[in-house]
């Protein structure tokens, strides 16, 4: 009897020990995952900073290489000697300077538009996205369109800009890498969430590829998408349709209507 009882007790303790051991192992594994996730966040942060720096460099280059020479040329036309010149020459110089200043204004406007699209600012995400897809469709090389099912309540301006940038980045990636025949955007709402889905029939990626690229040093654009999604407190899903004919990218974000 003693042996039987001892055996049973040993077995019970072994089971309990095994459960604890297994759990500790799982916790260790989870901690490793957490560490990896933190590293991923660090990569995203670095990518975001790098992206900002690249954007600043681009704007600086645009201003330095284009706006700078234009304004310098205009200044040359409007130098002190202008008053000593003949009237016809004066008029010619002023006309040339005016033309150069117009070019500079246009250039600065383009830079400003690339920072904040005016359609988005004035008319909202629906108009900006529809405009973007119309422009792509107008090229004639592929079928592109956007439909917003329910966008009666606009998102906050910051949210709209982030979503627009994500859509822009996704569309850019699709156009650059996927070679699609069509690309479509749909929007809908459900409870307190808003959804955007892009369909395309090119070469796409699925969630596993997205996660993999996010953990690697490659794919700066995807990291920007991930960091923007994080700022939005949303989620993104990369899927392939069961029929394997097209890819879907779904963005889920919480609705924060503009006041």
């Amino acid at each position: 009897m003693f042996l039987g009882t001892l055996g049973m007790l040993t077995l019970a303790i072994a089971i309990v020990g095994f459960v604890i051991f297994h759990q500790r192992k799982v916790i260790r594994y989870n901690n490793q995952l957490k560490k990896l996730e933190e590293e991923k966040q660090q990569i995203l942060l670095n990518a975001s900073i790098r992206f900002q720096e690249e954007e600043r460099n681009r704007i600086a280059a645009d201003l330095h290489d284009d706006a700078g020479p234009l304004l310098a040329t205009a200044r040359l036309y409007l130098n002190e000697n202008l008053v000593n010149q003949e009237k016809a020459q004066q008029l010619q110089s002023i006309f040339s300077a005016k033309q150069i200043l117009d070019d500079a204004i246009l250039l600065i406007r383009n830079i400003s538009h690339s920072l904040m699209p005016p359609t988005l600012k004035n008319f909202g995400l629906e108009s900006a996205a529809t405009d973007l897809f119309q422009k792509i469709g107008a090229s004639g090389s592929l079928n592109a369109s956007a439909r917003f099912h329910d966008y009666r309540t606009r998102l906050k301006v910051e949210q709209e800009l982030l979503v627009f940038r994500i859509i822009q980045e996704l569309v850019n990636n699709i156009l650059k890498h996927s070679n699609p025949g069509f690309i479509h955007l749909t929007q809908n709402i459900s409870a307190n969430k808003m959804y955007f889905r892009i369909h395309h029939d090119g070469t796409g990626i699925v969630q596993a590829d997205f996660e993999k690229l996010n953990h690697s040093t490659l794919g700066l654009g995807l990291k920007n998408i991930a960091s923007r999604i994080k700022v939005l407190n949303g989620r993104i899903f990369f899927e392939i349709d069961p029929s394997k004919t097209y890819y879907k990218v779904t963005i889920e974000i919480p609705r924060e209507p503009a006041i």
Binding site: M8, Q23, T186, N188, Y246, T250
Partner: protein
């Protein structure tokens, strides 16, 4: 639930020992022990239905309660001389062991948020797995050897040791302060985002 169990068991123990040592009524004491075995099994298995998530196993536990109750009544009526219910107690312990082991199995399948030993349910399970495994053979042997004086001494030593260990572990379970588990993220809802899909529109 667990507190209900402890209160009921305490009341039954007080009644049982009062009958045995004050009123010297062995027959009534045996009846109280039978009630104790049934109530202990019913409450403990019900407690585990609260912990276990698999509905099939929950149903199995509820059926086992019914089966166990019927078996205890059957055992009471077929007993030639009224005595302690060693066979029902052994069966109760083995069933309880199975359910606790299943509960541990379920724990191992779950996503770990914090170590299991930070939960009261774990210490309750450990207490009863030790109690059931320690007393299982004891009750099996007791059916035939309980009247032997040497066996009775061994019985008292083993039973008391196991009960003390069980109670100490149950004390730990009471002292555990549990943290709230974070909500798991919702799945992507099924929403109409494909209605504008060109392929679907064509078909």
């Amino acid at each position: 639930m667990f507190f209900l169990y402890t209160i009921l068991i305490a009341i039954l123990v007080v009644i049982g020992f009062s009958l045995l040592y004050i009123y010297k009524s062995t027959e009534n004491y045996h009846s109280v022990v039978r009630a104790y075995v049934i109530i202990e099994y019913l409450l403990l298995t019900y407690l585990f239905t609260l912990y276990i998530r698999n509905t099939l196993v929950k149903k199995a536990i509820l059926f086992s309660q019914l089966g166990f109750l019927l078996f205890c009544i059957y055992d009471y009526f077929i007993a030639k001389t009224p005595g302690l219910p060693f066979v029902p107690a052994s069966i109760g312990h083995i069933l309880l062991l199975i359910f606790i082991v299943y509960f541990f199995f379920e724990i191992m399948q779950e996503m770990v948020v914090e170590p299991i030993y930070h939960k009261a349910a774990f210490w309750i399970s450990v207490a009863f797995i030790i109690n059931s495994s320690g007393n299982f053979f004891l009750f099996l042997y007791s059916k035939n050897s309980y009247n032997d004086e040497i066996f009775k001494k061994q019985y008292t030593i083993i039973y008391t040791t196991v009960t003390v260990i069980k109670n100490l572990i149950l004390c730990i379970s009471i002292l555990i302060k549990e943290k709230q588990e974070p909500q798991s993220p919702n799945q992507l809802v099924d929403i109409d985002l494909d209605s504008f899909h060109p392929i679907k529109n064509k078909t």
